[in-house]
């Protein structure tokens, strides 16, 4: 999974960068509460220290300078004033919240699937990605579902968050108004690699999002004939079409299947559970996997060939290798991507 880092300047300020239409509204409410709180805190702490200094006991037997026990008008006053102030906070926060919850009719829809411990974003037209890509100045509606436990989609730069509860769809909308790459976190604890379930939201400048969509999945953009030609000789294929006026954009995104497989390992979050150096993790290592004898918990065994790897990806918990748990989720993946992954695994001797 790739992580674009926040730039240092973004973090120097107290609030993170504002990149959605709702963010300035949230920050305005935040700052109102902040200044009110600061006023009351300085008042309380200031009086406290003033009283400590002014009225400290100078000799052991010293009596208090006042014997007052209460003052009802004063007490009513300091009950009523805070009540009025919090009413403002409540109403202000509620109004913005309703804006956050009410998506415009014409919003661009993206389906989101969450699982332990990765995200997949599905765009209209059969395109998918592990990062959230959106056009600038366009309302976007995320329809989110979870395969397993509760996750939560949190994009600090947009000031939005919504739990993804299994068994129902969770909707979240926003309109990004500043191009850039912003962190996207899972905010609801979801197990071992919860903290690694993070990716980015990429806001594209005007017109750039459509270009990104065209070349987002270069492998699947190939026709069957083109794919055959690519598999027959990937490097020659890329060289041949690189400068093609129509097809060049996609061809230049292609690499050898081995290299694409290596990138897919990151993108599909395989890295969280499978090492490539023989080290132990949640799942078996990929080093020396291809062609090895696999011993299963149920006593069976098989030689790890292309069919075995394909089946292990599509139906991850059908056969569990000895010493491991059935912990792998079904990750959305296309046939051509599986072939690239197999090509990569074959290189890990």
């Amino acid at each position: 999974m790739s992580h674009a880092m926040l730039s240092g300047t973004q973090l120097l300020g107290f609030m993170p960068v504002r990149a959605s239409t709702v963010a300035p509204q949230v920050d305005a409410a935040f700052l109102f509460i902040f200044w009110v709180s600061l006023f009351f805190f300085v008042l309380i702490a200031g009086l406290m220290f003033a009283f400590i200094i002014l009225y400290r006991r100078r000799s052991p037997g010293q009596e208090a300078g006042s014997r007052v026990t209460h003052n009802t008008p004063l007490e009513i006053l300091w009950s009523v004033i805070p009540t009025l102030i919090v009413c403002v906070m409540f109403w202000w926060g509620f109004r913005i919240f309703m804006d956050m919850r009410t998506a415009p009719e014409n919003a661009y829809e993206i389906q989101v699937e969450a699982r332990k411990w990765s995200w997949t974003f599905f765009y209209p037209g059969g395109i998918d990605s592990d990062e959230l890509h959106v056009p600038i100045d366009t309302p976007v509606l995320l329809t989110m579902s979870s395969q397993d436990v509760i996750h939560s989609c949190y994009i600090p730069a947009f000031r939005i968050k919504r739990d993804v509860v299994p068994g129902r769809y969770a909707k979240l909308w926003f309109q990004a108004d500043k191009a850039g790459t912003y962190p996207l976190f899972c905010a609801e604890y979801c197990g071992k690699s919860h903290s690694d379930m993070r990716t980015v939201a990429v806001v594209h400048e005007n017109g750039e999002f459509e270009k990104w969509l065209e070349t987002a999945n270069p492998l699947t953009a190939l026709t069957p004939e083109q794919y055959q030609e690519y598999v027959g000789g990937p490097e020659a294929f890329i060289e041949k079409y690189r400068s093609d006026p129509q097809f060049g954009k996609i061809a230049s995104k292609l690499e050898t299947p081995e290299k694409l497989g290596e990138k897919l390992r990151e993108k599909k979050a395989c890295t969280q559970c499978h090492t490539i150096d023989g080290g132990a993790s949640t799942g078996p290592t990929w080093k020396g996997l291809f062609g090895s004898q696999r011993e299963f918990r149920d006593g069976g065994s098989v030689v790890a060939d292309e069919n075995y790897i394909r089946e292990s990806i599509l139906e991850p918990n059908k056969h569990i290798v000895k010493g491991f748990d059935a912990a792998m989720p079904k990750v959305p993946i296309k046939d051509r991507e599986i072939e690239a992954l197999i090509a990569y695994i074959k290189t890990l001797k």
């Binding site: 926040l6 973090l11 107290f14 609030m15 993170p16 949230v26 935040f30 509460i33 902040f34 009110v36 709180s37 805190f41 309380i44 009086l47 406290m48 009283f51 400590i52 009225y55 400290r56 052991p60 037997g61 010293q62 009596e63 208090a64 300078g65 006042s66 014997r67 007052v68 026990t69 003052n71 007490e75 300091w78 009950s79 805070p82 009540t83 919090v86 906070m89 202000w92 926060g93 913005i96 919240f97 956050m100 397993d148 509760i150 949190y154 600090p156 968050k161 919504r162 739990d163 299994p166 129902r168 905010a187 609801e188 604890y189 979801c190 197990g191 071992k192 903290s195 690694d196 080290g279």
Partner: protein, 571 residues
């Protein structure tokens, strides 16, 4: 209640006693004289020892967490000292120990047990056997909760959210749930006992509005304990049944609803926040008045605000679910109700401040803790406003802002707990402690606490999610600062505990009333005799400090008696 009054023979004994006098500590010897005791003071002391022990365990687990967070996390986790899984177990254990084992029973079961009957001038609580059962339930709960560490571990967080806890978590969830279940019953027993004790064992001349405010707070707390804790018990049992036999209450694939669990859980666990904070507020009212040597300001407002907090506290649980998919209407209602709790909390702070005004402020260790809590609770309470406001909560929910907020509120009560320990220590042990060492401990732990958690507010505002083992490198400087604060706290709390141990070993004998308090527990010897009082003292205004006068000869305060007192304070 004739059994509660001292017999004629005892009341014939003179009021002052030397150190060799029979007291509750020397009354019986041997393990069983403690393990099977029905004496509220001994039960309180056993609770105190247990709670401080687990405060250390919970604190050290937090130090391991903070140490792990010094670095943002490497790809090569096999070389890390604390792994992903260990980290998740550690924060679960830290939370569960601190909430269920330490803070919830902290002030009521340890100190409340000790002082509640004394404050009433009574011999014991209403149900001494139930009190002992409560302690042994607590012990059983502790053993069960910690047995999870050898029975597979638990990595759900102290919140046990479904469906993670039912279908995905480590193998040790069930023992941990049983542990929390038992601790819940221990808490119910304590609460029930206190309610009955306050109703039935108040001396005839002590009306409701003559009670020390500590008792109002403990009473309000007990109401929550008795009414809310059973819901937690049922919820945990449902969770156990679902995990064992697949009953479809919470699991979506069986037709259950994971958010239902959150409603059940927070229906207890939000009021539980007030179980933690109300007794602390009660202690605050005592400490602020005694060490200002001035009548508590606005007694009735403080008393009513305790009850108001207890009632409103039941109606705000939904604010934990603003982003869970709860309907807009529910969110609106819960947000509005949440703000209603802010008002009685603010009233208390203003009343404490007004008590300080023109008082005679003595900066002894308990008072330093109390003043620290005013600072800490000020921050904790005010940052709650950001979380009660819907729009800002969406951004801050499940980030370090929330972590910092609830530490400032809930963990802040630890400072009152320590303030209360130092305040009643002379009464409990009969020994004084070293003032300088105690002050250093208090100051360092307060400063460390503020460093640790103030920076976490900033982390949260910037979007750092909680329960993260790895994090973006941009957050590292603030994490390092927070960890440094945690180490300062280690030194501070270490010194405080050391100070208490030194006092046990070589503390000077404590006078009857070292602080000049007017509540009844200071009208018996330190430590108190087995039967608490040789003569049942008459209950008077607990905040009329003209009743006790400084005595330079003994460097302590003596009761002057109603007959010689100055003209009554102006009302």
């Amino acid at each position: 209640m004739s059994t509660l009054n001292p017999t004629a023979a005892i009341s014939a004994v003179p009021a002052e006693h030397g150190p060799g006098e029979d007291n509750y500590l020397t009354h019986g010897r041997g393990f069983l004289s403690w393990a099977l005791t029905l004496d509220h003071k001994r039960i309180g002391v056993m609770y105190l020892v247990g709670i401080i022990t687990f405060f250390i365990v919970g604190g050290l687990s937090a130090l391991l967490l903070r140490t792990t967070l010094l670095t943002p996390g490497a790809k090569d986790v096999s070389k890390a000292f604390v792994t992903h899984d260990m980290y998740n177990v550690l924060f679960t254990v830290h939370g569960a120990i601190m909430v269920f084992i330490v803070i919830i029973p902290g002030i009521p079961a340890a100190l409340g047990n000790f002082v509640l009957p004394l404050m009433l001038g009574a011999k014991d609580v209403a149900f001494p056997r139930l009190n002992l059962a409560s302690f042994w339930f607590w012990c059983t709960g502790v053993v069960l909760l910690l047995s999870t560490l050898i029975l597979g571990g638990v990595d759900t967080g102290w919140t046990f959210y479904t469906p993670y806890s039912t279908g995905h978590a480590m193998a040790g969830v069930i023992p941990a749930l049983f542990g929390a279940f038992m601790l819940g019953f221990s808490s119910i027993f304590t609460g029930l006992n206190f309610i009955v004790t306050i109703h039935k064992l108040r001396p005839p001349e002590m009306g409701w509005f003559k009670m020390p405010l500590m008792l109002w707070a403990v009473y309000s707390t007990a109401l929550i304990q008795v009414l809310a804790t059973p819901v937690l018990g049922i919820t945990l049992l449902l969770l156990i049944v679902e995990r064992l036999v697949g009953l479809g209450i919470f699991a979506p694939e069986l037709g259950g609803d994971p958010v239902l669990f959150q409603h059940f859980f927070w229906f207890y666990s939000h009021p539980a926040v007030y179980i933690m904070i109300l007794p602390a507020m009660g202690v605050m009212s005592e400490l602020i008045a005694v060490f200002s040597r001035k009548h508590i300001f606005g007694y009735r407002f403080i008393a009513y605000s305790s009850v108001a907090i207890a009632i409103f506290g039941f109606l705000v649980w939904g604010h934990h679910m603003f982003v869970s998919g709860q309907s807009n209407l529910l969110n609106m209602i819960f947000s509005a109700l949440t703000f209603s709790v802010a008002i009685p909390s603010a009233i208390k702070v203003f009343n404490w401040l007004a008590t300080l005004y023109r008082g005679s402020i003595w900066l002894a260790t308990p008072m330093v803790y109390a003043l620290s809590f005013m600072w800490i609770f000020g921050i904790g309470g005010l940052t709650g406003l950001f979380l009660g406001t819907l729009a800002t909560d969406v951004h801050l929910h499940d980030t370090y802002f929330v972590v910092a907020h609830f530490h400032f509120v809930m963990a802040g009560t630890i400072f009152v707990f320590f303030g209360a320990v130092f305040y009643w220590w002379p009464k409990i042990t009969g020994k004084m402690y070293e003032e300088n060492l105690a002050l250093w401990g208090a100051l360092l732990s307060v400063i460390g606490f503020n460093i640790t958690f103030l920076v976490q507010f900033v982390l949260g505002v910037q979007g750092m999610p909680r329960r993260y083992y790895n994090y973006l490198p941009d957050f590292q400087p603030l994490h390092v600062a927070s960890t440094i604060g945690a180490y300062v706290q280690l030194i501070g709390f270490g010194l405080s505990i050391l100070c208490l141990l030194r006092s046990l070993a070589r503390g000077k004998p404590a006078p009857m009333n070292p602080w000049g308090a007017a509540t009844l527990e200071w009208r018996t010897s330190s430590p108190p005799p087995w039967f608490n009082f040789h003569e049942s003292p008459p209950a008077e205004d607990p905040y009329d400090f003209s009743l006790v006068q400084y005595d330079p000869a003994s460097n302590s305060y003596v009761y002057r008696g109603a007959a010689q007192r100055a003209p009554a304070a102006a009302h």
